[in-house]
Symmetry: D2
Subunit: 283 residues, 4 copies
Amino acid sequence: MSVDTLRLIVSSPDQPGIIAAVARFLHLRGASIVELDQYTSEPSGGQFYLRTEFTIAPERRAGLSDQFATAIAEPFGMRWRFSDARQVKRIAILASRADHCLVDLLWRWRRGELAADVTLVASNHPVLRDTVTGFGVPFHEVPVRPDARDAAEGTLADLLAGQCDLIVLARYMQILSGGFLEKVGVPVINIHHSFLPAFPGAGPYERARQRGVKLIGATAHYVTAALDEGPIIEQDVIRTSHRDTTATLVRLGADVERTVLARAVEWHCADRLLQYDNRVLVF
Amino acid sequence: MSVDTLRLIVSSPDQPGIIAAVARFLHLRGASIVELDQYTSEPSGGQFYLRTEFTIAPERRAGLSDQFATAIAEPFGMRWRFSDARQVKRIAILASRADHCLVDLLWRWRRGELAADVTLVASNHPVLRDTVTGFGVPFHEVPVRPDARDAAEGTLADLLAGQCDLIVLARYMQILSGGFLEKVGVPVINIHHSFLPAFPGAGPYERARQRGVKLIGATAHYVTAALDEGPIIEQDVIRTSHRDTTATLVRLGADVERTVLARAVEWHCADRLLQYDNRVLVF
Amino acid sequence: MSVDTLRLIVSSPDQPGIIAAVARFLHLRGASIVELDQYTSEPSGGQFYLRTEFTIAPERRAGLSDQFATAIAEPFGMRWRFSDARQVKRIAILASRADHCLVDLLWRWRRGELAADVTLVASNHPVLRDTVTGFGVPFHEVPVRPDARDAAEGTLADLLAGQCDLIVLARYMQILSGGFLEKVGVPVINIHHSFLPAFPGAGPYERARQRGVKLIGATAHYVTAALDEGPIIEQDVIRTSHRDTTATLVRLGADVERTVLARAVEWHCADRLLQYDNRVLVF
Amino acid sequence: MSVDTLRLIVSSPDQPGIIAAVARFLHLRGASIVELDQYTSEPSGGQFYLRTEFTIAPERRAGLSDQFATAIAEPFGMRWRFSDARQVKRIAILASRADHCLVDLLWRWRRGELAADVTLVASNHPVLRDTVTGFGVPFHEVPVRPDARDAAEGTLADLLAGQCDLIVLARYMQILSGGFLEKVGVPVINIHHSFLPAFPGAGPYERARQRGVKLIGATAHYVTAALDEGPIIEQDVIRTSHRDTTATLVRLGADVERTVLARAVEWHCADRLLQYDNRVLVF
């Protein structure tokens, strides 16, 4: 007897009885909870977050979402969504010249480590074309001329709209406008070196070396229009010493960047990331 | 309006509806769930584990445990216990000559980092007496003569019986018998270097140095009679290099040992550790 | 036959032959090199740094320093110093109310882990008096009133002048002036949380929590008058999650702070730290 | 004016004056020391190890090696070799079915992170052929039939002999005999999971999960005939929890394995690894 695996993600103002109501709703429809995790932001009067993964017979799925809306979501004032574990997310990757994050994602995808489909790669440079097509993934060059940024962004948005559930900026070195984010309408994950706000702008590794830092790192975050930095998904660091040249720091940084970005993408694809204010809960 | 904070720890054969039943039970008695975490060992036919922390009005606590037993625990075949967050656990620490784990625990306890009372320290050596009494904790010397191990263990068991909810072996260098464990009847947490089974017996750090290991570490575990090593609670490592002498390795090892032991004790005192076969779930 | 262990620390403009000259000088005086480490800041035209530890018969030490000055240091334009491993550094610790860094240093000192003497502790608060005197170390309260900062700093400088070779700020919450640093005339090591420059000012842990950071850390550095932050000696981090309250972050931060500060002090006392521009070389 | 970069690796019984003699020898031939690191195994009567990197004018290189042999190496009883930084090592990689270590090495090589040439890949399975040839590297299938192991090993040795300066076992699942090691005559680096000796044989990750370990890791080591495990080059770990399935452990293990192996190969190619008894010094 085959079963489907679904996920339910919920947030709402905290109040007693939410878990009981959700768990009972699922149980009465024959679902079997495999995982359930929750978080309450404050002891009282806070915000409530829940992620649960459950199995259910295919024939019991009809109307599940509507019934949940009426019986549970509305009374509790929830934001919520169901997600089918088998319907993997479609990922579009944007890159520039650096290949470390891009190749690491493509390679994990080919190994089956990402529960996702990489549907296309777009870049403002042609250099990574062969690398990408070698993985059997379509490559689109969308050049960005300084005097025609808006047009390029429009081309990119047209290319992406409706083609992906997630956009990953794998060291894509162009700034994206709020209008672009709105137009594509899907979450965007970015990776940057973790010196920010310490060394903004050009040459962060050279400046980190001059400052004599003992750790370098990387931060993966969701991209938002209103803020310089969106909500942090994951961070990690690696040790350095005075013997490391700037070139070595860049290489060590590349290793941390690809590891951190891969974790962020993996968690997003498994519906493990919930946003709360400007924070990300990792469930 | 004051509330009490309680914890409920449950394990049972997995079956649909457990979370719904537990959450509904608590909700109907006016409890408000603050934290809930669960684990299912296998997709189907496995073992189910749950820890939840909830607040409840003091006047609603009467009969809670009995009602839970009848309404929930028996039908589901659960092992379970309630625990009151305010009734902190009483800890007895056994030590020998080394002070690093002992002092770290006493110091965290004095800072209020451990939700526990350290009620006594016992040692087979007198050297740590002043250290212990300086913290205002009673110190008992229980010498262990090679020809009178059983008698010493009996003295120790008499001293501890009923006086503590947890025994911590903070580098206590005597082996404890199954009979002792049974007599004291409370969990026992031990810390050892993490080379096992690689370097059993005497001089593990010297042998690790000769082997040229690049990491040394520590493991905290529950003590059991039947097995050489009981269930692992926590592990960590620290880097070493060929420049480290054996003395340096011992010192680095001391730093890892005290960190790992402190985490294990803290988690135990917060009722975050559940045993499953020979494994420990950290909730 | 007893030998003395000395260290020689050298910096100079880089040029060929420095190591040959230094090593030959030591060899001709019967010294035996135990450790030698060097660093050249640039492939050519950079700055040269060397630390060597050597043993020498006591009767061969007479005039060593003068001969080195004439034969080696002057021709190469070196800055240099010899240091006797047996003449351990005298440390004065400044603290405020928080005890975690202070106690960790005192405890390592008592265990013999620091090749140093802790000669006194001074604080602008009386709360740590018993803790300090319990270690057999003199405690001086030097209150700092907002309207009499200069006077307090003068009192502190008088207390410290000539009494120590190193001042450690173990969470001392007062700013020290350039004049103070000049007057005491010894290196000063400080520890701060590693969010800087991200979360300067009050409440860094609360703000880190609101920002949803996934790592918190600590930085030990030398204190300088001219710069907001002096040269970095050591840094480390620890993972956090959304489940950690601000109080938990503060506690985790305390653990990283004391670890990082202890390493920095240990390295300084072993003459392993060389300053180069605004960087620290760890040898 | 162009210069050559050479490395000199030395080991000998410890005695005073070695560094002076080596440094002076190089200085008198116009060499300029860029890096020099040394290690003495014991305060007295131990073994001495030195690695130095220096630049020298091409026209001063003639006879360097012969002169060093006569003037320095023989009097001190040294084992020694010069190595030219521009003559990168030729690497042959052996793999089976798993691609994670292999692809990581090929990818780092293509990015220019390894100062080495990957000259060929051989495997006992055909599955990785396209992956390897996609990098422009020759792929050789050398099947190993249970009844013809010696023949297969002979074929492999013939293929490799004289074609490489280093053999890397990138999850090559066949045991190599002492005779093979002797015939190929170059160093061999292997990677294995770091549970050894804890979980030898089949299914180490499943058994680690059943044991409830909190860390998994990897060890890179030189392969020797006489010992089960050769000298350890590098080790690292990654955290796991009870939520990780065996499949997740295998994937986390793959990430640690490829990181650790890449570091070991990089250090070997930079002549940073010296063997001392059964230990490896990382300079």
